[in-house]
Symmetry: C2
Subunit: 220 residues, 2 copies
C-alpha cells in the first residue's frame, strides 16, 4: 500500500519523466530526480520502490518503466467518465482543461441551475439542466463528480449525487461536505491552500521582524 504523501509526489515525477522521455532519454537516477524536484535521493528511492520498478545500480531507473508503473498505480491508464456541476468560471475552466486527459479523467456532462446556460457548449460537452443530474448519473453509471457550485449549494448537489449512486466527489466549493463514509471525497480548497501560503509568509516575515519587509526593488 503506497502512502498518500508518496501518491502526492507521483504527478511531479510523472511530468518530469515524460519530459525526459520527450528529450530522448532512457534512464534516470534517483539523484537527478531529487535534485530537480527539491527532494532527497533517499525519498525518491523510497517512492520509486512503491512503484515496483527496480533500479540498476550506477544506471538508475528505466524511464518508460517508471512512467508505466506510476500511471498504472494511479489508475490513470484507462479514462474515467465524470460529470461536473456548476458552469461558473471555475467550472468552465476545469471542463475545458485538456490536461485532464493525461489523468484519465473525462468530463462528459456539465450541469447548472441557470436556465440561460442550457445547451451552451463547454469543452466537449454542453450544459444540462440540474433537474437531469440525478437521472444522468444513475443511467450512465457515472462514478466521479466534480463540484464547482457556490458554497451554499454544494451540500444540496452532493446529496443528489449520493442518491444517484456516485462513488467519488471532487469538491472545489469552499464548504465541508457531509457524506456517507463509503463515498470518496477529495477537496481542492483555495482557502486551505492560501492559508498555508499565508502561514509560510508569516513565518518568513516574523523572522525579519515586520509583516512585509521593505523590498530593495521598491521605487518610491
Amino acid at each position: 500500500m503506497i502512502s498518500i504523501p508518496t501518491i502526492k509526489r507521483f504527478p511531479s515525477y510523472l511530468r518530469l519523466l515524460r519530459q525526459y522521455r520527450e528529450e530522448g532519454e532512457l534512464w534516470v537516477s534517483a539523484t537527478r530526480l531529487a535534485t530537480e524536484l527539491g527532494l532527497t535521493p533517499i525519498q525518491v528511492r523510497k517512492d520509486m520502490a512503491g512503484t515496483g520498478v527496480e533500479g540498476r545500480p550506477k544506471v538508475g531507473f528505466e524511464i518508460d518503466a517508471l512512467i508505466a508503473a506510476i500511471v498504472e498505480n494511479l489508475g490513470w491508464d484507462n479514462a474515467t467518465d465524470a460529470v461536473l456541476i456548476g458552469a461558473g468560471h471555475l467550472g468552465v475552466a476545469l471542463s475545458r482543461y485538456e490536461g485532464f486527459a493525461s489523468y484519465g479523467l473525462k468530463i462528459v456532462a456539465v450541469f447548472d441551475r441557470d436556465t440561460a446556460k442550457y445547451g451552451r457548449p463547454i469543452g466537449k460537452t454542453i450544459v444540462y439542466p440540474m433537474e437531469e443530474l440525478k437521472a444522468y448519473v444513475a443511467d450512465h453509471a457515472i462514478n466521479i463528480a466534480v463540484i464547482t457550485v457556490p458554497a451554499e449549494s454544494a451540500q444540496e448537489v452532493a446529496d443528489i449525487l449520493v442518491e444517484a449512486g456516485i462513488k467519488a466527489i471532487w469538491n472545489f466549493a469552499p464548504k465541508d461536505l457531509r457524506l456517507p463514509s463509503d463515498i470518496v471525497l477529495q477537496r481542492t480548497d483555495l482557502a486551505t491552500s492560501f492559508a498555508v501560503l499565508s502561514a509560510k509568509c508569516r513565518r518568513l516575515f516574523d523572522h525579519c521582524g515586520n509583516q512585509f519587509p521593505e523590498t530593495h526593488h521598491n521605487v518610491t
Copy 2:
C-alpha cells in the same frame, strides 16, 4: 509555532465559526466542531490551543474570540495586494472570486501575453501587457503573485517575478518551479489533488475486487 496540518484545518473552522455567529450563537464546544467536520474532539482542542484562545470547561470556546484569533494567526486581518499572471479561464475565475476578500487577498492587476486581451476588465482590474509585469511588481512593492499561465510559461514568469522582488508565489500551473529558497512557494496542483482521489478510489475498489463495482443504480 503552529503546525502546517493545523493551519490547513483553520479555514474549515473559520467557515463553520462564521456560520455559527451568523446564526446568533456565542459559544461552541470542541466536541461540536469535531462532529461537524469529521474530526476528533482531541484534535480540535489541540488546534484551538494553537490559537491561544482559552476555552471554558462545560461551555466551550467563545466564537468571536476564535474567529479573531484564527484570522490573526493566518494574517488575514489586513488585505494584501497581489498580481495574477495568465488571463485564461482559471485566471479569470480566480480574479473574479470574491471569496478572496475574506482571506485578505486582493488581486490588483492581471497580466497576459495575449495582446488581444489588453485593457479587458476582469474583476476589479484590467489586463496589462506582460512587458509591464516586472515594473509593476517592483514599483508597487507587490509581495504575492498568482500564476495561472500554461505549464510551458510558468518558469519564465516566475523568473520575472523573482527579479522584480516578489516574496511569495501561488502557482496553479502544472509545473514544479525552481525558485530561490527565500521565496515562499505554494502549489495548487490539480494533478496532485486528482492523484489522491484516484488512489483513494483504487483502494476502495480494490477492496471490492474490481475497478468499478457495478452500481445498484445502474440502469442498463
